[in-house]
């Protein structure tokens, strides 16, 4: 416990660049994951989330820039890094011919810190049959099995790539519960990528938004919400372009009524809108999804230069 206490962050990525042939997958990414937080990585498909996670796992080497996990380079010290890291990949790659019990035994052999009783309690909670073959499991069961294998050695860092993708509500519930339980243990850290923004909003302390290989922002969820506002306004004119407001990121609606997602403090936005002759019907904090759509959704962007 004490040896890790001096570390401020578990993961540090600096100016990471990755090109696949012509495609720029990561264009100078910086992220810092502090210890003991739930860190949510959001972005559209193809934004670079999985590529970034692969660098953190050491399965891709940095073309330029640096990656440090627990202060180490995961490519140079894979064993030291991976022994402290539990990983659930998007395609849960467990060999299909194995039985659940065999997959548990096989994974256990790699980890001295394996907690047999914990693994068994997870297997019971997830209702996984030891004798069932992996290839016969449903998507949700496969995800739960992968999660069991990632959790049972109680790694200080849990990395989940799109953990809820394509799962039924019951499996999603188990995944979220695992995240909540993990971070409730003092000092454990969770890094997960997701396009399900209401889930990110539930559990994340810090959110990084990746768009076209770049980090658009990385900050606490509280601060993201505090510096954005959502107004529902009405105006006199029946038609014409969307109303203007300083900090406007995205306007939707038409005719008299418009929803405006803006950067700015809510009361100031309300005052400004009123000063411009708009009737403010509602003023509230946008959800993470509203902010995300306003900032990076293709074709829906309002022409405020960024």
């Amino acid at each position: 416990m004490t040896e890790a206490a001096g570390l401020e962050s578990v993961i540090e990525v600096r100016d990471l660049v990755r090109k696949f042939r012509r495609k720029q997958a990561l264009a100078g990414v910086d992220i810092t994951v502090p210890r003991g937080v739930v860190y949510g990585l959001v972005g559209e498909n193809g934004a670079g989330k999985t590529t970034l996670l692969k660098h953190i796992l050491g399965s891709l080497r940095a073309q330029s820039g640096s990656v440090r996990v627990f202060g180490m380079d995961p490519v140079k010290e894979p064993v030291a890094v991976l022994s402290q890291l539990g990983y659930l990949s998007e395609d849960r790659d467990i060999p299909g011919w194995m039985r659940v019990g065999e997959a548990i035994g096989y994974t256990q052999a790699f980890y001295p810190g394996w907690d047999e009783a914990y693994a068994e309690s997870l297997r019971e909670r997830f209702e996984l049959d030891e004798r069932a073959k992996i290839k016969t499991l449903s998507r949700g069961e496969k995800a739960k099995c992968g999660l069991l294998l990632a959790l049972a050695y109680r790694p200080p860092l849990l990395v989940l790539d799109e953990p809820s993708s394509g799962l039924d509500p019951s499996a999603r519930h188990d995944i979220l519960e695992a995240i909540v339980r993990t971070v409730a243990d003092e000092g454990r850290t969770v890094l997960f990528s997701s396009h399900l923004l209401d889930e990110v909003e539930r559990v994340a302390d810090v959110v990084a938004m990746i768009h076209r290989g770049k980090v658009v922002f990385e900050e606490s969820l509280d601060s993201i919400k505090a510096r954005h506002g959502r107004l529902l306004v009405s105006r006199e004119e029946e038609d014409g372009p969307a109303p203007e407001l300083p900090g406007l990121l995205h306007a939707s609606g038409g005719g008299r009524e418009w929803t405006l997602v803006c950067e700015g403090e809510l009361d100031a936005l309300r005052t400004e809108a009123t000063a411009r002759g708009l009737l403010v019907l509602e003023a509230d904090t946008p959800s993470l999804e509203d902010v995300f759509l306003a900032r990076v959704a293709p074709g829906k962007r309002k022409g405020t230069a960024s």
Binding site: V180, A184, R202
Partner: protein, 136 residues
């Protein structure tokens, strides 16, 4: 204690918890001295980050609504009516804004909206009266 969290609502989740605890106290469903779930327990129940629950409890404590006894849990404060007139006003204003917006959307005039509010108030008074008769 049953709380409902809606991440899509936009209002920060710790504020949703704070407001709902306040409503539960104001409506008498939580009484002074009642114990609240642990931070971990509520986080697992609602599937939200424990830090978020801790923040809601901390702010409710600073507002004098909850008290935490070291190592013995979190309780509803017994020190009089913890919700100041001002805090109640803020809670109600938020609801009033939503009602005003809704009424405006539906084309209701202020007088009609007010008479509906009066009716709801009377119904609620009658209900409370009945509740009192029921309990021996």
């Amino acid at each position: 204690m049953k709380l409902h969290i809606n991440p899509k609502e936009g209002k920060p989740i710790y504020r949703q918890i704070m407001d709902q605890v306040k409503y539960l106290i104001a409506s008498g469903r939580l009484s002074p001295g009642d114990e609240l779930p642990t931070v971990r327990g509520l986080a697992q129940d609602l599937l939200i980050n424990p830090n978020t629950v801790a923040r809601a409890y901390r702010e409710l404590e600073q507002a004098g609504i909850l008290v935490t006894r070291q190592g013995a849990g979190t309780y509803v404060s017994t020190q009089g009516t913890p919700l100041s007139r001002e805090a109640c006003g803020r809670l109600l204003l938020e609801r009033a804004r939503a009602l005003a917006a809704e009424a405006w959307h539906l084309g209701y005039r202020l007088e009609d909206t007010l008479s509906l509010l009066r009716r709801a108030h009377e119904e609620q008074q009658a209900e409370q009266h009945n509740d009192k008769e029921d309990t021996p």
